[in-house]
């Protein structure tokens, strides 16, 4: 049999994606629950920020600055709310629940054999599978999200320009790539360590904070934000949301996209390297 050309192997993984989509749709109940429960923490976050802004307002009023708008690091309550909604969309693309732990488990239990026996690349397969997972998730949660955004439509200044929307889509796609390959790297650590659960937990917690999932990174100390800009995390949540809100200057956008694209490429290379080294180790010791 002839080796497959690049386009043929792309078609192969797209078809795998289609079949995986069927698989994901089997778990309807899980989807429904995941979608509904994803909104619950959001409500508490909104209430929290509402309280923060209200008390700030009262403080300003008491100090006789009643005409001054309430802002926190340049964010009004509207913008804060819009930001928190948009971060949900960022995470919809960049979060990879179960990828690292699943990969580590497959390595430990030897299920990884399946991919070594068949003419298939593990990372490409998982990417197709995860892509299917994401598509299924986005389709099923688009209705509840539409309702949510419609309900909060007043916090948005209006639709951004087509150019911004294009950049937003690009930032989300790159976020997906970084998210996927970052989690894959964590999972591939399973080749060297028997147990990576606590590692995954620490990274998850840290990520929630430094990706801007919890609040806009502008609220942090400027010296810290300057560092975070060069790390991959903020591109998983903060950066796409800021692109949509058009709260970044052209120079900041250019710089951001260059860093984001560099991280995406580096993560791909790193994951491929870890997989290659891991397999060598696995073939020598395990099996």
């Amino acid at each position: 049999m002839q080796p497959l050309s690049l386009s043929q192997s792309l078609v192969k993984y797209l078809k795998i994606l289609r079949i995986s989509l069927v698989e994901r749709l089997v778990y309807r109940g899980d989807f429904l629950l995941a979608t509904v429960f994803r909104f619950l923490p959001l409500i508490t976050t909104f209430l929290l920020w509402d309280a923060v802004y209200t008390s700030r307002r009262e403080m300003l009023d008491r100090q006789g600055h009643a005409s001054e708008p309430v802002e926190m690091s340049g964010f009004s309550l509207q913008q804060m709310t819009a930001y928190l909604l948009l971060v949900q969309i960022s995470r919809m693309f960049s979060s990879m629940p179960g990828l690292a732990s699943g990969l580590a488990r497959d390595i430990r239990d030897g299920n990884i054999k399946k991919y070594l026996l068949q003419p298939i690349d593990l990372l490409a397969y998982l990417l197709a599978y995860r892509g299917a997972h994401k598509i299924a998730y986005i389709i099923t949660s688009s209705l509840p999200y539409a309702v949510l955004f419609f309900f909060f439509r007043d916090v948005f200044p209006g639709w951004p320009s087509w150019g911004t929307l294009g950049l937003y889509a690009l930032s989300l796609m790159l976020g997906f790539v970084i998210g996927f390959f970052f989690e894959a790297c964590v999972g591939l650590a399973g080749f060297w360590f028997l147990e990576v659960t606590s590692f995954i937990y620490i990274i998850g917690t840290l990520n929630f904070f430094v990706s801007g999932h919890m609040f806009p990174l502008d609220l942090l100390d400027p010296s810290l934000t300057a560092v975070l800009k060069y790390l991959p995390f903020q591109y998983l949540a903060y950066f796409p949301a800021m692109v949509f809100l058009e709260m970044k200057s052209a120079a900041e956008l250019t710089e951001g996209f260059i860093i984001e694209a560099t991280w995406a490429a580096s993560m791909i290379v790193l994951a491929k390297f870890l997989y290659w080294r891991g397999l060598k180790r696995y073939s020598a010791f395990g099996g």
Binding site: K12, V26, K113, G286, G287
Partner: protein, 331 residues
Amino acid sequence: MPIIEARGLCKTYRVYQKEGGLLSAVRGLFSRKYKEIKAVDQVSFAIEPGEIVGFLGPNGAGKTTTLKMLAGLIYPTQGDATVLGYVPWQRPDAFRRRFSLVMGQKNQLWWDLPAADSFQLHREIYSLPADSFQKTLGELTELFGAKDLSKQPVRELSLGERMKMELIAALLHQPQLLLLDEPTIGLDVIAQVTITKCLREYNASRGVTILLTSHYMKDVEALCKRVLIITHGKLVYDGLLSGITEQFGQYKLVKLQLEDEHAAGLESFGEVARREGPSVDLHVDRAKIGEVIAAILQKHRVLDMSVQDPPLDQVISRVFQEGQAGATPQP
């Protein structure tokens, strides 16, 4: 040209030696003792196209490790092998398209989906053309008698039905070599017989080469003319199944029906394996069988007598127990 050629394969594992208890667990945090275990030791053999060869040995003898090396999952510490003309642990796609490894204890199908979806996935993974895929699938479901099963979620199938599905999936890309690790483990007798029958027919019609490990002698007797026996990592026998008794069966089973149910002194002819009144089973040294029979006939009135080879599984379990001790590796 042989399909499988193994030359002096060795595999040594390094295992972490841990004593029980908290104290040693804490000590293990700082320094660990490792022990080297030779799982496979200088194993050489060749298998020709179309053969079905049984690979026998007690648990932990090195069967699965050898299969894993031949499938390219692990590489040997020493020695080399060619499988289908490739070095397996280099894992080129062209090699992986031409064989299958099925492990009875591992599930390769999607658990919550009907097998049909997993088959489709296989089709894509192996890039099989739609028409030949449909044709092969049709033939295989017919052969395994599994027409209606492929639409049920795999988790709802019985173990035997699931094994059929696993084998169909493994054969969809028409491999030239099938490596089977305990394909009938946990199956009832009927399912075992069906699976072995299907494998035999598939081998006859397609000429696929099969190397299988099994703990059930019935499987091996039904499928294999030739067997390899491995104990403690060393190959102790490579030859015809029928030759095992000749090489390792030190005794013959003599079944006697005596007139006198209290006949005494039978122990002098050999080991009395069973005695129920006048019917007696004796294990008699193969080399002395002629003279012992003559002596029995002289001393006792015998109503009926038969001389048989001992059951194969008894001989083999004796080979397993003795390990390398009395046996010499075959070329």
